[in-house]
């Protein structure tokens, strides 16, 4: 979905933005009637609103219906400060942005924490917030009813004509917003947002500080909307609560973003320009009503024939980027030279879990579990289905906190840490059913882990690191395709590559061999051994017995949430209680 960050392309796009900005800046001096400056101001305004909305809602997937609240907050801040307190107009703009940010950050801090508020519920909360703010504005001395009148406020003198000031302010803000969207798109922050968009839980466990990033994106989005509101207040010169605090503004920006192309950072800007231009095309008085119908028809036609938006149609890809061979891909022999380390299995513990409990609605998944994981070992975690293995992995990786007990890792109790901090600390995991970021390419998926895991690399370094792990797992031929194009084996290896790219001290593998063919299992076993030899401790949940016996130094067997056996594999598997646990009492 989001293209690779190629330095040449980045520079080219950046140059294009600045060039466009410079070109537009000359328009007031070309002698065109000032009406066009006003018209372009409106295009700039909607560019700011649509692009800023996209930074939160398009990038991270948190669909907000509340943009009107922040736009209106900015409008009223400027209106009240400028007309009642005689603050010079330009000074009110930072205040407008500031008020909007405070509101947005407060709402975000309250709402983003709550796990269940995603998707349309988030949209609902933001819409409700808009109505609440609007009512407060209307019923307090902020407005109180009559509206706020700004005719007495001096318009700064920028540019040749009376309206040029708005043109330049609008242009400056629009440029700033587009550059912000562009910059975020190509940054680590942006990558984190895209990850949140695709799978927030996985992103958090991988090390993306999701709460912080969401609030940051929301704050950026709100501040830009607030600043736009401040400028618009003076443009209108008479501010009423009326239509501002409603669903109109967010609905319009959604339409603009979709029309322009949601996948592109320039999409909202294009959509804003097209829709504003269309609005003006049909204002002739004789056929106003028919004109509106034509406007509607044009919108429909555009989206029917350009389903990815205007920019999507413009940048139609002709061929898939990677000329990947079809069918089963024969993986080349491992490129990574094994560091045959003589590191023997130590008895030094890396993670000590004591008395860990977790219950789900009354079902005790883990009922007081004591497990010690030693540095440098491959530990097998076994047990029949429902014994608590996946729950243990989820607890250690921070998916959810335990109900009781402690898990000491590197001197810290993981039970009290947030998931992304656990990842930073050097713990990684794979998922039994692979959960790659569907909207990112394979290479980007691995780079994400390098960026946000304990390695904490910059974007460029992460890309290079990603290449290393793609080679190690043999996924290099598929690096520029999307996860949907991979088969199960490749997806499992992608999970592995992702986990390893975080440079973990401890990696938890959740049934990584399930669903693989015998040949593939052999390759995976070699890979896992190589991982341990590289210095990483491996905990390994599995049912495939020959792999368990071949790989593990020790195993721990769980049943009904309790540890029932621990020791060397061949030994433990023969014990009667273990056999009973797996096969039932008739087989002891």
């Amino acid at each position: 979905m989001f293209c690779l960050s190629v330095p040449a392309k980045f520079n080219r796009d950046l140059a294009a933005i600045l060039f466009a900005g410079a070109l537009l800046a000359t328009i007031p001096f070309t002698g065109l009637p000032p009406f066009y400056e006003s018209f372009l101001y409106l295009v700039f305004l909607w560019t700011v609103l649509a692009t800023s909305w996209n930074i939160l809602s398009g990038y991270s997937g948190y669909f907000s219906f509340g943009h009107g609240a922040f736009f209106g907050a900015g409008m009223y801040t400027t209106a009240v400060l400028a007309s009642r307190f005689d603050v010079p107009f330009l000074w009110t703009l930072p205040a407008a942005a500031g008020v909007a940010v405070v509101l947005g950050a407060a709402l975000g801090a309250a709402v983003f924490r709550v796990r269940g508020i995603r998707g349309e519920l988030f949209a609902l909360v933001t819409l409700a917030f808009t109505f609440v703010v609007g009512t407060i504005v209307l019923n307090t001395p902020i407005d109180g009813g009559p509206g706020v009148y700004l005719s007495g406020v001096a318009v700064p003198k920028i540019g040749p004509s009376g309206v040029s000031a708005f043109f330049y302010m609008g242009l400056a803000l629009a440029l700033g917003t587009v550059l912000a969207a562009f910059g975020i798109f190509h940054s680590k922050f942006g990558s984190g947002l895209f990850a949140i968009h695709d799978d927030e839980d996985v992103a958090e466990v991988m090390g993306v500080p999701t709460l912080g990033y969401k609030i940051a994106a929301f704050s950026v989005s709100c501040s830009l909307a607030g600043a736009a509101g401040g400028i618009h207040a003076l443009f209108l010169s008479y501010v009423t609560a009326g239509d501002t605090f409603s669903i109109v503004v967010p609905l319009t920006v959604v339409l603009m973003s979709v029309l322009g192309g949601k996948r592109f950072w320039a999409g909202p800007a294009v959509g804003a320009a097209v829709i504003t231009a269309l609005l003006y095309a049909f204002t002739a008085g004789d056929h106003a009503v028919a004109g509106k119908a034509v406007f509607g028809a044009v919108l429909i036609a555009v989206i029917l024939f350009m389903p990815q938006g205007v920019l999507g149609w413009f940048f139609r890809r002709r061929r898939p980027l990677a000329k990947a061979a079809q069918g089963v891909v024969e993986l080349p022999p491992m490129a990574y030279s094994q560091k045959r380390s003589d590191r023997a299995v130590t008895s030094e513990p890396i993670l000590i879990a004591r008395g860990v409990r977790k219950a789900f609605r009354g079902v005790h998944a883990l009922d007081g579990v004591d497990i010690e994981i030693r540095r440098g070992e491959i530990l097998g975690l076994l047990g029949p289905n429902g014994s608590g293995k996946s729950t243990f992995i989820n607890l250690v990786s921070g998916h959810f906190p335990p109900d009781a007990g402690e898990m000491l890792f590197d001197g810290r109790d993981l039970a009290r840490c947030k998931a992304h901090r656990i990842a930073r600390g050097g713990i990684a995991r794979t998922y039994q059913i692979p959960r790659p970021f569907a909207g990112l390419m394979v290479r980007e998926n691995v780079a994400m882990a390098a960026m946000f895991g304990s390695a904490n690399l910059s974007r460029g370094a992460a890309m290079r690191e990603a290449q290393r792990w793609l080679d190690f797992t043999g996924l290099t031929p598929k690096a520029n395709t999307y996860p949907d194009d991979l088969n199960l084996h490749q997806r499992k290896f992608l999970e592995l590559a992702r986990a390893l790219a975080t440079s973990p001290q401890l990696v938890l593998l959740d049934e990584v061999l399930s669903g693989l063919t015998p040949t593939e299992i052999n390759e995976a076993v070699d890979l896992i051994r190589a991982i341990r030899d590289h210095g990483t401790t491996v905990v390994f949940v599995e049912h495939v017995m020959r792999a368990v016996i071949a790989l593990t130094d020790r195993i721990v067997v769980l049943n009904h949430g309790l540890v029932i056996a621990e020791g060397v594999a061949a030994d433990v598997m023969a014990r009667p209680e273990v056999v009973t646990a797996y096969l039932g009492s008739g087989h002891a």
Binding site: P33, P34, F35, Y36, S38, F39, L42, T135, L138, G145, P146, G147, Y149, S151, G152, G162, V163, H232, F235, L236, S237, Y238, T240, A241, G242, A277, L278, L279, Y280, A281, F282, T283, A284, G285, A288, V289, G291, K292, W313, F314, R316
Partner: protein
């Protein structure tokens, strides 16, 4: 690369086409430009203004036009949005290069247009501005004759009308929308009622756009005032009356600030509703020949256009007056220079279907010419002051 260039060219051509749609070629006739809310929430009343303008311009051209030239009226659709009105007025002035401006419909749009007119030093005669204290430009001229302080003068007029009845009201309930042009009038009414010794037994405000009037109606019925002042605009009055009807309550005296004329006149539960007006289609207003003729044509056109209420009332009259004012100024000064016209208007009186208008008061407002009208037998009838009441009409009392 070819495909890219081709698509880019297509886009440029389309955009260029969009821009040329708006521009109009230059012509010898005198061009008067304005916008109206031809679509959007304000469209219902803007229709009246469009009809009025068309009728006036036709008549004007038949009489020889202005300064011997035909007149062309360029009207654009501001879609009920003030920000669109503002840019369209800029387009009218700087792209279409019209000779004269006329105001758009309703306070919000007029404020926007006023700002533009001020920047380009153009004269602005407007017909539906509701908040005189906000009209700060010296070359704007109102024909909705509220006078400079309507929040004081008009409630007095209304209460005078009620005081003239055999049983004047002693208690008053004021319920109002928070719509700007209505809200400040209701607050003024509150003041005046207090000064005149009426007892206020209920004061409620609702936000404009409220759909559910059940609770408000219940509270009004509970209070049971002698006089109900409703700060309503558009349909709000009808919505309230609907809600009152549903709980079996008919207010004794009831007044509505700016009701949509058609629905209020024709709803059975709106019997005896009072409102303000500067003109109704009855003598003595129609004693003026041009008023009578305008009324006849308007009735025909309105009926043909499908308007439920086809009589001339305040809205159409205010609009017609604006055109009259413009024509008078241009004819008297033989000039299209905005400064000259503005100066003339400030120092002269103009004969219109409303009466003789002057513009020498604060914010160029003259006298408060608002009368009181009442719904009687499905039509609006002026009832106060007696000098302006329709023949034989008196304020019907419950």
């Amino acid at each position: 690369m070819n495909g890219f260039v081709r698509r880019f060219a297509v886009c440029i051509i389309l955009l260029a086409g969009v821009f040329t749609i708006g521009a109009a070629p230059g012509d010898p006739p005198i061009r008067i430009g304005s916008t109206l809310a031809l679509t959007g929430p304000l469209a219902s009343t803007a229709l009246v203004h469009k009809l009025t303008g068309e009728i006036y311009v036709e008549g004007l051209n038949r009489r020889g036009g202005l300064l011997g030239r035909q007149v062309e009226w360029i009207v654009k659709d501001d879609q009920s949005k003030p920000e669109l009105a503002r840019t369209l007025y800029e387009q009218l002035i700087t792209v279409d290069k019209v000779d004269l401006l006329l105001g758009p419909y309703a306070t919000g749009a007029i404020l926007s247009a006023m700002g533009v007119a001020q920047r380009y030093n153009k004269l602005l005669v407007h017909h539906t501005f509701g908040i005189p204290s906000l009209a700060k430009y010296d070359a704007q001229f109102p024909t909705w004759s509220l006078g400079p302080d309507p929040a004081t003068t008009f409630p007095n007029t209304v209460l005078d009308a009620l005081a003239s009845t055999p049983k004047p009201p002693k208690t008053i309930a004021i319920v109002t929308s928070k719509f700007p042009s209505v809200h400040f009038m209701s607050l003024g009414a509150r003041e005046i009622a207090r000064k005149r010794g009426l007892q206020e037994i209920l004061f409620l405000e609702w936000e404009f756009g409220n759909r559910d009037f059940g609770a408000i109606a219940a509270r009004i019925k509970d209070a049971n005032p002698d006089f109900l002042w409703v700060g309503a605009i558009g349909l709000e009055g009808n919505q309230l009356l609907d809600a009152l009807k549903k709980i079996d309550y008919t207010p004794r005296y009831h007044f509505y600030m700016y009701p949509a004329p058609g629905p209020m006149a024709q709803a059975p539960e709106a019997k005896n509703a009072l409102a303000g007006t500067i003109f109704e289609q009855d003598p003595p207003f129609t004693d003026n020949p041009s008023a009578a003729e305008f009324s006849k044509i308007f009735n025909e056109r309105a009926t043909k256009a499908g308007l439920p209420y086809s009589r001339v009332e305040t809205q159409a009259a205010a609009s017609y007056t604006a055109w009259q004012v413009l024509e008078a100024a241009v004819t008297a000064t033989k000039s299209l220079d905005d400064k000259v016209l503005a100066e003339w208007l400030r120092t002269h009186r103009v004969d219109t279907i409303q009466g003789k208008l002057r513009f020498d008061g604060p914010s160029n407002y003259g006298d408060d010419l608002m009368r009181v009208k009442q719904v009687q037998n499905g039509r609006w009838v002026t009832v106060w002051p007696k000098a302006f009441a329709a023949p034989g009409a008196t304020l019907a009392t419950p």
